[in-house]
């Protein structure tokens, strides 16, 4: 669990993904479209990490999006936040993007 929070705070935008997960691909694409360069951590080979994400309340565990060190949600949450403008706002506040 510490490893997760540790990694999550290392960069303004952090996404935990799996190489087999195509929804992760979509979320990554969205961040890139917004001009962010999130740190991507693949947890395919790391069941402990996935378990830790679950313990933190990430449901579903993958993709898990952190902005400014805080858990923002999974795909569904990211879409909600994007549509009402909060996602961009959070990214700007965390200095992941500038405009």
């Amino acid at each position: 669990m510490d490893r997760v929070t540790d990694l999550a705070s290392k960069k303004a935008a952090v996404i935990f993904t799996k190489s087999s997960c195509c929804m992760c691909h979509s979320i990554k694409a969205l961040f890139y479209e917004l001009g962010a360069s999130p740190a991507i951590h693949e947890v395919d080979q790391d069941p402990d990490m996935e378990w830790a994400l679950r313990r933190l309340g990430c449901n579903p565990a993958i993709p898990a999006v952190f902005i400014g060190g805080k858990y923002v949600g999974s795909a569904r949450d990211v879409i909600s936040l994007h549509v009402d403008g909060s996602l961009k706002q959070k990214l700007i506040e965390a200095r992941a993007i500038w405009f």
């Binding site: 929804m23 569904r76 879409i79 549509v83």
Partner: protein, 418 residues
């Protein structure tokens, strides 16, 4: 597989096996006519009597029995004795000829209450085995065989009738379609499983459409009669709630048959032209709405424009994910399978490949969910930008647009064809 047991038992069982090939075939379903039938049926109570068919020696006394070389014909008779109850269910599975006199043994299998366990006492009985009992039993068996033949005949007749009826119905549907009745093509023969889920959804969807038109009329009446904002507001809320119902219905239906939903089999043909992950594109819808919502303030125009862009971005992202899914699925299936020696790791690879592909197909449901979520959220956001009256007009405009697409579809299907 069946012959193995016979070797253990000694020659008597071998001969028994040879003399009743059709019995084994009968019990096994259409597995072939020899004692070699290797597919051990997976039905529980049968297992105990499968000693003759290979492998499943659940009955220890059977094992004891097979070890006794002096157990000859008597044990065979014991078998008949133990299975004297005729089993009506058993024989209807049989595809093999029931004219075979060996049918008398068809009742062999299904008596869990009297398995071979009982045959432990066989040794004592073999000396006192009266002739008449055998004769009576044989007669009963013949009778049972005759009855089963009649039942089979009746069943086949029933199947034939059903087949005729089906052809008739199909013709009717064809005729109706030609006349412009929009009948959803849910009868996809290659996927019999999807039928039920899709049919249920089609029914729910038509109900939803009916209710939708009711809400629309109410709303239209309220707008044209210039009702107050507060009255309008509750109508708008109801209409919005109802509109969002379809997303809930689609989510449920997608669990049963994601392909039916995501590829728009439930939509009218013209709607399907514009299909994007199981529905409409919110960005497109917003473009259409702007002209219907005039006059809009500068602020509103800017917000709607921004919302359209946002929606487009999300649509793009989801589309990219779908493309990745497609690519990944293709890669998984196109991977070179090694030459497969039967039963080796080649088969394991193939199954692994299939399992991976199955997982990928499973994620389609998630894409549909997120696409619908995007639609719902976008419309929700739109309502926060608009006044109540504008929201009402937006709902009417959306409904009109889709109605026209459906009407176009009906016309299209009814067009005269040379």
């Amino acid at each position: 597989m069946g012959s193995k047991s016979f070797k253990v038992a000694g020659k008597v069982y071998t001969s028994v096996a040879d003399s009743m090939p059709s019995f084994i075939a009968n019990s096994n379903g259409a597995e072939g006519n020899t004692g070699q039938s290797s597919r051990v049926s997976n039905v529980g109570p049968h297992e105990q009597s499968i000693g003759f068919r290979g492998g499943a020696y659940n009955s220890t006394s059977l094992i004891n029995q097979t070890m006794h070389p002096d157990l000859q014909f008597s044990s065979y008779e014991k078998m008949l004795q133990g299975q004297n109850i005729s089993q009506p269910n058993q024989v209807s599975n049989s595809d093999t000829s029931t004219e075979d006199p060996d049918d008398k043994i068809q009742s062999f299998d299904v008596d869990p209450s009297n398995p071979f366990m009982a045959s432990g006492s066989n040794d004592k009985q073999k000396d006192k085995f009266p002739e008449q009992k055998t004769q009576r039993r044989l007669a009963q068996n013949r009778e049972a065989a005759r009855k089963s033949r009649l039942r089979k005949k009746a069943y086949v007749q029933q199947l034939e009738n059903s087949r005729l009826k089906l052809t008739q119905l199909e013709q009717e549907v064809q005729r109706a379609r030609k006349q412009g009745v929009v009948i959803s093509n849910t009868g996809d023969q290659s996927q019999p499983n999807s039928g039920n889920g899709s049919l249920a959804f089609v029914a729910e969807y038509s109900r939803w459409l009916e209710e939708q038109s009711k809400h629309t009329s109410e709303l239209r009446a309220a707008v044209t009669s210039h009702k107050s904002d507060s009255e309008l507001r509750s109508l708008v809320e109801n209409a919005t709630t109802h509109f969002n119902d379809i997303f809930r219905l689609k989510k449920i239906a997608a669990k049963a048959d994601v392909f039916h939903i995501i590829y728009g089999m439930w939509t009218s043909p013209a709607e399907r032209c514009f299909l994007w992950i199981g529905g409409f594109r919110s960005s497109e819808l917003l473009k259409l709405l702007v002209s219907h919502l005039e006059p809009l303030t500068e602020q509103q125009l800017a917000s709607i424009d921004h919302l359209q862009q946002t929606s487009l971005q999300a649509e793009e992202a989801l589309s990219q994910g779908m493309d990745a899914l497609q690519q990944s699925l293709a890669d998984t299936l196109a991977r070179d399978a090694p030459v497969v020696p039967p039963g080796s790791s080649g088969m394991a690879n193939y199954m692994g490949q299939m399992a991976m592909a199955m997982g990928k197909l499973g994620s389609l449901e998630n894409f549909l969910r997120q696409a619908d979520h995007l639609r719902e959220k976008t419309l929700q956001q739109l309502h926060t930008i608009l006044t109540t009256r504008q929201s009402a007009r937006a709902l009417l405009a959306i409904n009109d647009y889709f109605s026209r697409l459906r009407a176009l579809s009906t016309l299209w299907l009814a067009r005269p064809q040379e």
